[in-house]
């Protein structure tokens, strides 16, 4: 295990250090101290590292992550794991707005609550939230799974494409073109796998599934007057 002190070397110092580790290195486990809410910590990591960040982080932590397992031992600011490609970003506390925005792959676990626009424009990531998510979550979500163990705020899944949304609690209301869908065996199995990976002890049967009605995919000539 190696320690990096953000107060001493700054965000650029930390990130440069992480980029310079060769892919075949045995120096895999890195602990970052004194994050002080700074932005873009462990952003753009491209290798199978284990990174523990000991405190609250600012915006875009773990953004563009590839392969690394990043654990935030605190709360995360706006856009945690934004555009993640693979690997894991695990938030022990809560996450601010736009968690997992546009992320292509990997797993984002938020043990607490996530704020508004969680999973906005997600493109294949799996997101598991232990608590609730705020308004406009999964807005324009394209692919991947968003699992919410608590409640979902207003306009869940507005203008959603092919992402799957699972909510255990109450969805205040659904956004445009988002509907409740039948929970089939394949969905229960997928959900069980995701809950297991996120170490959440809920029964898949307790969740409801939401997805796209696919009514916005094509122009509807009956609505021409509205334009």
């Amino acid at each position: 295990m190696h320690e990096l002190d953000l107060k001493a070397i700054g965000v650029t110092g930390i990130n440069q250090k992480l980029y310079n580790i060769p892919k075949d290195s045995n120096e895999r486990h890195w602990v970052i101290r004194n994050p002080m809410g700074q932005h873009a910590i462990a952003c753009g990591v491209d290798g199978p590292l284990m990174i523990d960040i000991m405190g609250h982080v600012g915006f875009y932590c773990g953004g563009m992550n590839k392969e690394a397992e990043i654990t935030i031992h605190g709360h995360a600011g706006v856009g945690v794991a934004e555009n993640m490609m693979s690997g894991v970003v695990w938030v022990k506390g809560n996450a601010s707005e736009s968690a997992g925005a546009t992320a292509n792959g990997g797993l984002l676990v938020i043990e607490g609550d996530a704020s508004s626009r969680c999973g906005i424009s997600m493109k294949g990531v799996d997101i598991v939230v232990g608590g609730s998510v705020g308004h406009m979550s999964a807005f324009m979500a394209q692919r991947g799974n968003l699992v919410v163990c608590g409640d979902a705020g207003e306009a869940l899944g507005d203008s959603i494409y092919e992402a799957r949304l699972y909510v255990r609690g109450r969805a205040v209301n659904l956004g445009s073109d988002c509907i409740e869908k039948e929970m089939r065996q394949e969905h229960l199995e997928d959900l069980a796998r995701l809950l297991d990976r996120a170490r959440m002890k809920h029964r898949p049967e307790a969740f409801r599934r939401y997805g796209s009605a696919r009514k916005l995919y094509n122009f509807n000539v009956d609505h021409a007057d509205a334009y």
């Binding site: 002080m36 809410g37 609250h56 601010s96 704020s115 508004s116």
Partner: protein, 300 residues
């Protein structure tokens, strides 16, 4: 893009450190607003029969002593002036309206930045750290303080266009965001007798609050009405005589975070501003909900 910060001390023993605790919070928000900065500090309350004015003049060499003497003579009142840079704190037992009227007629370059019993407002163009130091705020003692770092998007970078904006006795507002209906609203408010110093959208929000409060609304009612009448995106932090209030627009895309310990309550655009406070690591931390009014320390 702008940064807003507020600190309210629950533990009176910390009051001598208010300015020192707040300094790194404001400076941390420099990246969000390097154009100008402003602070409203609540300290040294004056007697019930007195009013405290925060005044400013663009000319640093302006003769404030002359204003002091002439005002005393004209209104037959006591007046004491304390100058710090381009600003000056005037304490007087003259009637507030008479003082404002007299200043307008006899000291045309003087701007009334704020007034009340406790508030003192200082704001200027320049890097937040420089502005803070220019007004000796690092050594400020007080109960609470709010601040703003500005990156202008809607109007010119001027001292008059920087925040906080006064909204009434001991009340002032800082704003992160931009309003889209401020031109129409400004015209409507002008018809109601409100006056404007700038083309700034936040000044319109402040004037709107002032107008509502003059009409008898409580601060909470004024903010609730604002949610209906102010179009755009915003997080507002409003300093009051004994605390502060926070409100975000219903979409809440302008960031805001709050934290509380046994010793203090803090609000900031970004967590990194609050991270400097003692005990921040173990504070209770949350994001203010959209269209919800939060108040501290006062009867809003």
């Amino acid at each position: 893009m702008c940064g807003i910060v507020g600190l309210y001390l629950k533990n009176p023993r910390l009051q001598p450190q208010l300015g020192a605790m707040f300094k790194p919070m404001l400076i941390e928000m420099t990246a969000r607003g390097p154009d100008s900065a402003g602070v409203a500090v609540y300290r040294n309350p004056v007697k019930d029969n007195e009013v405290k004015f925060s005044l400013a003049h663009d000319d640093k060499a302006f003769n404030w002593r002359h204003v002091e003497g002439a005002l005393e003579e004209a209104l037959n009142c006591e007046a004491a002036i304390h100058q710090t840079g381009t600003h000056c704190i005037l304490v007087t037992d003259g009637k507030e309206e008479d003082v404002v009227k007299w200043l307008k007629a006899n000291a045309p370059g003087v701007r009334v930045v704020g007034s009340g019993h406790t508030v003192e407002i200082f704001k200027e163009t320049g890097l937040p750290e420089k502005v803070y130091d220019r007004f000796n705020l690092g050594s400020a003692t007080g109960t609470h303080i709010i601040g703003h770092t500005r990156m202008a998007t809607e109007s010119a970078v001027t001292t008059a266009g920087s925040h906080p904006f006064a909204t009434g006795a001991d009340l002032c507002l800082v704003h992160n965001g931009s309003l889209s209906n401020h031109n129409r609203l400004r015209e409507n408010l002008k018809r109601e007798g409100m006056e404007f110093q700038t083309e700034n959208d936040s000044e319109v929000a402040a004037a709107y609050m002032t107008w509502k409060l003059r009409g008898g609304a409580t601060l909470k009612q004024a903010l609730e009405d604002g949610l209906k009448d102010l179009d755009g995106f915003y997080t507002f932090l409003v300093g009051t005589a004994d605390g502060f209030a926070v409100v975000r627009d219903p979409i809440a895309c302008k960031h805001a975070v709050m934290a509380e310990t046994d010793d203090w309550v803090a609000m900031a655009t970004e967590w990194r501003a609050i991270a400097h406070l003692p005990g921040a690591d173990t504070a209770r931390i949350w994001e203010p909900e959209p269209a919800t009014i939060y108040t501290w320390g006062g009867n809003a």
